[in-house]
């Protein structure tokens, strides 16, 4: 009974929030360039002035090293906002397009307009960036926004609630904190777009809820990002880039972090040695004590990762690391060799500091391994062999592909960031954010001249010829038809 009333109170609040935002949006205030620019400027100011608070909250929620917080969350958020501010006028401009003979005389353009009220459901692993970046895109496109930060990163969630209203127009941009009941209450409301970052299971729930209102969605999900390593590479650089891509990305708890490696049986020993060297160089002899690596976010995920390791199919395959400290919620960077494919470790997204290495006879066999799994958000290849690289780009379907590095493509705002298949729907970043949160309205201006009576009944043979010519842009046919001459 108590739970019932709590849920109905939750729904009412969610309904009231969305209704208020809808009224604000209907008033038209979010549409002007000035309003959008003011919000973006406010967000940049917030990041500048509250940098310390944000870093502290990230430390509390994830034990994220200061440098990771700075690079992956603060800087990326700030540069995304800066880019939106810089390009906003250009993005908002209608795009003239050509119109064809069929519609002569006319002029046509595509006018971007806001969708209305957007819901941003964020994730816990980059809780600041993955909240503010979609909000930036939604605002740039002129929408009102509800932000629902992840409850698994409670300090950042609370921080947003506290500071965001001081920097942006809170009649149009609201933060709603909470967990499953609050999210469910929000999803019952009608939004004009929903962007969700998280896992595929909840992604399905979000899309089903959106279907009731015919709300388009962007789902930024995950997957097992493979790293294929050829033998002709610069081994030192390769191992550094893999190690920092894995354990330097929130300790492997990132949708883009390398999930598993595929290399040849002959090359594996060399690669393993190089990885071990890099791990030690970066995190010292006792990585559980290193301050340069995030912790596992909470005891649930710790238990999940522990059981992946303790699985009898897996525990014998550990070749480096494997140490755990439950109190500190830390698991050492762990390498595993040739874990069986039917183990949970090789079936589910790891999202943690465990890196399995799968060996194959020849490198081409990697395609079978990768294609037997759902399409990932990213696929990585280290190789100097141009032909193999071309084949990789052509054969592997993933959200994005990066050659000779890991995770970096995320930082190029000119590339669309999003998945395909199980790794997601839609994309954002840079202009793709603006486009994602806009409706591109086709506008055709016709004049009253150029009237073609052939368009209307009664339909005579002459009219039919004329229409045929017009439709196919056949100028000669058109002239002939106008003069009443036949053309077969």
């Amino acid at each position: 009974m108590g739970k019932q009333s709590q849920r109905s109170v939750g729904e009412e609040s969610a309904g009231e929030v969305v209704m208020g935002l809808r009224e604000s949006f209907a008033s038209g205030k979010t549409r002007s360039y000035e309003w959008r620019a003011a919000q973006l400027k406010g967000i940049i100011r917030m990041i500048d002035e509250k940098e310390e608070n944000i870093m502290e909250a990230l430390e509390a929620d994830l034990s994220k090293p200061k440098l990771e917080s700075f690079v992956h969350e603060i800087s990326l958020a700030k540069s995304s906002c800066g880019l939106a501010l810089k390009e906003l006028k250009r993005w908002m401009k209608p795009e003239k397009v050509s119109s064809m003979l069929t519609a002569f005389p006319s002029s046509a353009e595509i006018v971007p307009e806001p969708l209305g009220v957007v819901l941003v459901i964020s994730a816990w692993n980059y809780p600041f960036l993955l909240s503010i970046d979609p909000v930036i895109g939604a605002i740039a496109a002129g929408n009102a926004v509800v932000l629902k930060p992840s409850e698994i990163a409670p300090s950042i969630s609370a921080l947003f609630s506290t500071i965001l209203p001081d920097y942006v127009d809170s009649s149009c941009i609201r933060v709603v904190e909470g967990s499953i009941p609050e999210t469910t209450a929000l999803l019952a409301q009608k939004f004009d777009k929903i962007i969700y970052t998280g896992n595929a299971k909840v992604g399905r729930i979000v899309m089903s809820a959106a279907a009731k209102h015919l709300t388009p969605v962007v789902l930024e999900l995950g997957g097992k990002c493979p790293v294929v390593v050829d033998s002709n590479v610069d081994l030192k650089v390769t191992s550094k880039r893999i190690v920092v891509g894995k354990w330097g990305s929130n300790n492997g708890q990132a949708c883009l972090a390398p999930d598993y490696i595929i290399t040849t049986k002959s090359f594996a020993p060399k690669l393993v040695d190089a990885l071990k060297v890099s791990i030690e160089n970066f995190y010292g002899e006792n990585p559980l004590q290193s301050e340069d690596i995030s912790r596992v976010v909470n005891s649930n995920h710790f238990a999940r990762l522990s059981s992946l390791l303790d699985d009898e199919k897996v525990s014998g395959k550990i070749i480096h690391g494997g140490q755990k400290d439950e109190k500190l919620l830390k698991i050492a960077p762990t390498l595993l060799l040739d874990v069986p494919d039917d183990s949970l470790l090789m079936q589910e997204e790891i999202f943690g500091p465990l890196l399995p290495i799968i060996t194959v006879d020849k490198l081409e066999d990697c395609f079978d391994v990768i294609n037997s799994k759902p399409k990932p958000l990213a696929a990585y290849l280290f190789s100097r062999n141009k032909k193999f690289e071309e084949r990789f780009v052509k054969t592997v379907s993933a959200g994005g592909i990066l050659i000779n590095d890991t995770t970096m493509h995320f930082a190029n705002p000119n590339l669309p960031f999003g998945g395909v298949g199980e790794s997601g729907v839609g994309s954002y970043h840079g202009k793709f954010s603006f486009d994602s949160f806009s409706h591109k309205k086709a506008v055709l201006h016709r004049s009253f001249g150029g009237e073609v009576s052939a368009r209307y009944p009664p339909y005579t043979p002459r009219k039919q010829k004329l229409l045929r010519a017009l439709l196919t842009g056949d100028i000669i046919g058109l002239i002939l038809a106008l003069f009443g001459w036949p053309r077969s």
Partner: protein, 481 residues
Amino acid sequence: MAMDLERVVEQARETFESGGTRSYFWRRSQLRALKDLLHEKEAAICEALKLDLGKHRVEAYRDEIGFLIKSVDHALQNLKKWMKPEKVSVPLVAFPTTSEVVLEPLGVVLIFASWNFPIGLSLEPLIGAISAGNSVVLKPSELASASSKFLATNLPKYLDNKAVSVIEGGPLVGQQLLEQKWDKIFFTGSARIGRIIMTAAAKHLTPVCLELGGKCPAIIDSLSRSRDVKVAINRVAGAKWGFCSGQACIAIDYLLVEEKYAPFLVDLLKEKIKNCYMRPADLTRIVNKQHFQRLREMIEDPLVADTVVHGGSLDQESLYIEPTILLDPPLDSEVMKEEIFGPLLPIITLKKIGDSIEFLKGRPKPLVIYAFTNDEKLKKRIIEETSSGAVTFNDAVIQFALDTLPFGGTGESGFGKYHGRFSFDQFSHRKAVMRRSFCLEFSFRYPPWNERKLQFLRYIYSFNYVGLLLLFLGLKRCSST
């Protein structure tokens, strides 16, 4: 039957996975074959459309055959260009790096077509799906059974039938198809079914494109030149009674006009109907008994029947409804609440034409808003203060023939767009590809972390190249800001 269906989908997937649909040559051959089909089977298509809808040959050509030929030509001309990866610029700090966006097919696509343009709405998305290199299963509408049969019989004769299949049937077959896993679902139809489709797609995280409908209004302003008025009347009438008898998502649903001009407008429309839209042979009939009944109930609502100022007669035998004009039917009547999809034209009068903006604001977003006006201020207000899939000034329907304009809805009228290049994009995955080299390594990318590395990164992110250089050369000390 269900087994056959599964087998068809399986084959489509096998064909796709074997790479059979990816080459430029395969896609081009399929598009050329479609073009051949359209040319060689023109008569058969017209026959099917006549049986299904009583559609006149001219409407059949203008709205379906000719339209499709234009689309196929456009795709053939541009296919190479569309297939090319798009080079993308990279910020200097990431040097040396190249980035591009590679267009790749999604995989196996399911297309649901509607009954009112049964050939056009089947083949236009098909053109896009094939151009993008997918294999396709097409389910035509069972309400246009002759067209459905035509497609099921002829597409396999012209196209690669391991990659493109047609599955006929009604809602049960539709349901069975939705249980399969698709890489994209493209649906044209009603919002009610759109919801069902999206809900089913959610189980597999399948992206969808929903081309739905709505009540497309036409705002009729006062026009000073009588020639303009004449043209406007032609176009308004054509977009209702000359366009599948109003059974089209982009047909004009109702008119908005200032009350002082309404009588004048009614007279002109009456005259137009008498001159051009009286011969049943020129008009498409109502598709079936259910829709006929639905429209009959709309007119026979006593509060609505009173507002009929022209037409209103019905013939159930031939499924014919006379072009009908209604003047100010109640706004809460069926005819003003639901998409009409028929030859009834309500005219709603307003005190001033600018009130049309307010009128539209509270209502679901339609696929198109039409406005016949020379008032630039009003045009600007319509673009900026209303929302719809598209806006067309001083004409109607014709926007759908432009390959350069995206065709699609927003809100209740759907999401996703197609036609021309937008079709190709709709059925593609835009894969980000970045290539780096091994040379030029920066130690500040890697742990163990220290203040100096942090400072480097601060400079990089603010694109402060000078500070970066000085720091690199050891000529600058780290600071905490």
